[in-house]
Symmetry: C2
């Protein structure tokens, strides 16, 4: 697809070559700064453009910069790209911002990103988590059911999913308190169950989309060909998982407390339009799915992904590098599936892809796969090893399209540190 | 426990003996009438007391009658019972209402219930569905796994549950459009899957609670002994289920599209306080659960429940009568379990019990149990039979505490009619 913002255009706001946020991205977020309440902004280079100030100056055509308005209204991307274009002076040198040198920018409308606190870009109504990487589903099947076909019979016919907890979706930077819960009793013990802090705290590297537009209305399926119109944008998701709690509780109704304690999302919502140049053909699907799931054209996404792990006080190490383009089920198929029974979608809903795992050990999106069930520990730069997460560990997810001569449309880092379980239990 | 509103007190509003809504109940709802927007009311006899008018008259101590305020603020029940008490004249004969005879009431503050449209009492943030009837779980285990122990190993150790869809929680009276979806292919056919309107549309008779109070805050478990303080009130739930869609999709992540198309709730939220006189001891639990799930005192509820089924144009027939007192896991245990991993609860969340089934065929809360997997059809008054629901069928759930000389604290009818699947698919 053609780029909405031509790759050659640049901004009067300085943007470094390695920045996730050039003029071609302009993702939304909700930020606050000392003494000011949360408000909407757009990331550009190392700054945040404060949309409340831009709106007050009459430059947003009357749009009220509120998260649900942003995801449901007509796109602001072309207008914002005009305002930030190197050739435009409506904000630059207007009193809202000044550019005393080519490398610096100051003024009320542009806040340095390092000085702001980021919040959730939207508060999801419903949160759905898929299971759409064939490599991830195969790896887990091999570990948990070594004597059977790794993929269950339904897996190639529909994008398996479950509803997750919406109240515990938290922004990047939120500490993840190690959850307590019930697990199977130790094999050599007498008790059928045990209780305490999770011993197998894991991550899941995922990509999520957020719905926008007018919604579909109860009882009205979204055809797969129209699904993209209902997707406002994308973000990174870390679906923290307590494997021991999950393994004991999940039959027959699926994961619950092993997942519900926290789900982290990156704070900059990258608009679908900014990702258009990086769309790729969907994966080959065999057997061909039911007609309501058959997608044409470029419904995959060439999106590089990384997982980094850092012990408390140590250096970070990259433990996985993979790509989103090989996901078996794609976002348009996922949304067509969710709504085929008439389910209502609402603006701001969050739909996560499931763990993104490629082929081969260095491309897996969870520790249970990277350490093969805890049997093959990872080494960290400080000499320590990890199977599952220890208190104080920080996990950072990164993702971006482009680079290498093309505009880098990135997601910013999604960061979370493990805090000890509460002592009251 | 002692009644908050003494059983001997009566109201100046006429209340019939069979009414669900005496002075001892006073459940909240959101209603609208022709030409007026939705607003909060309280059911009393055959009328709704319009709290916006009562508040405007300065009689609610400054409380703003908004659904989330009602469930989080200090209880209004004692004050409302005073205002409606036979001996109180602040509303009666005040201009807001008149009582020309002992049997009639008129005036702006009291709207006949037959003239109003009811809406959701609260829009749930998260919706959790449990599986807490031992008889129901045993029945389904016997049908689906005839050669194994009917209860899975975890069932007696924790209240199994999953997150359901919040966007499709609908009020009583909403038509239920038969969902389309994917199911296993016919056994004698060549296709592994089939697609179309569900052929096994079922109900689940459940009781739900709605959280109120201040919330717990992320990372802070609610002790089982404190759980009741976080429960604002109760309502009836019909967890419509497409058994064929569910059976094909549910491994390994649980029910999804087989449930997400619609969940109906009754429109009057019965305050916990009104149910105090009907609390009973919890069920015997063997083995004893983990300490965080051990509840003392009267954490069960003696609540009669009925399911009625009516073919289009026919008469209704009662197909099940049961009671909520025998549920294995109770609401305080359920809430302690949900939060033990630090999950945040929010005011207005909905937690449904799971299907309520007693011992014996006439006490089951779903058609799959009542017809034993479709093998033993039910007869209706018009001579037709049913295994699962047909288009045009209406299902009515009823529930009440008391009666037989004690105040009847009822929930009102929860009604839903099955509409045909959309023809577009």
């Amino acid at each position: 697809m053609d780029a909405v913002i031509d790759a050659a255009r640049t901004s009067w706001v300085p943007v470094g070559e390695a920045s996730d946020f050039p003029l071609q991205n302009l993702p939304y977020g909700v930020f606050s700064s000392p003494g000011s309440p949360p408000r909407i902004g757009v990331a550009i280079g190392d700054h945040v453009l404060d949309l409340s100030i831009v709106a007050d100056a009459g430059l947003l055509d009357g749009t009220i910069p509120d998260p649900l308005v942003v995801v449901t209204a007509d796109s602001l991307l072309p207008l914002l790209a005009e305002l930030l274009d190197a050739d435009d002076s409506r904000i630059r040198d207007s009193g809202l911002a000044e550019t005393p040198t080519d490398d610096t920018v100051t003024g009320a409308a542009l806040v340095p990103r390092g000085e702001v606190t980021l919040h959730l870009p939207v508060r999801p109504g419903d949160y759905v988590d898929f299971y759409s990487s064939i490599q991830h589903a195969t790896n887990l099947g091999r570990m948990f059911r070594p004597d059977s076909e790794p993929l269950l019979p339904n897996w190639r016919h529909l994008p398996v999913a479950y509803h997750g907890r919406a109240s515990t979706v938290v922004p990047s930077g939120t500490d993840i308190v190690r959850p307590c819960g019930q697990r199977r009793g130790d094999p050599d013990g007498e008790e059928p169950t045990a209780f305490g802090p999770s011993r197998r705290l894991d991550i899941e590297l995922e990509v999520g989309f957020v719905t926008g537009g007018p919604g579909n209305g109860l009882g009205t399926p979204v055809p797969v060909a129209d699904a993209q119109e209902h997707i406002y944008g994308y973000l990174l998701v870390n679906d923290w998982s307590a494997r021991d709690i999950q393994a004991w509780e999940y039959q027959p109704l699926g994961p619950f407390l092993g997942k519900s304690f926290a789900t982290s999302v990156s704070c900059w919502l990258v608009p679908s339009e900014a990702l258009e140049p990086y769309r790729v053909g969907g994966p080959a699907q065999e057997p061909e799915p039911q007609p309501y799931l058959r997608a044409d054209g470029d419904h995959g996404l060439d999106l590089d992904l990384e997982v980094w792990l850092e012990a408390a006080g140590g250096e970070e190490r990259r433990i996985s590098a993979t790509n989103f383009r090989d996901m078996y089920w794609t976002p348009p198929q996922q949304l067509a599936h969710v709504t085929v029974n008439g389910t209502a979608i609402r603006p701001g809903d969050l739909y996560a892809s499931g763990t993104v795992s490629g082929e081969g050990p260095g491309t897996y999106g969870s520790l249970i796969e990277l350490t093969w069930g805890g049997k093959e520990p990872l080494s960290l730069p400080d000499g320590s090893t990890r199977t599952f997460l220890q208190d104080g560990d920080t996990v950072v997810l990164r993702g971006w399209c482009g680079g290498a001569g093309r505009p880098r449309v990135g997601f910013g880092a999604l960061r979370g540190q493990v805090a000890p379980a509460p002592t009251m239990l």
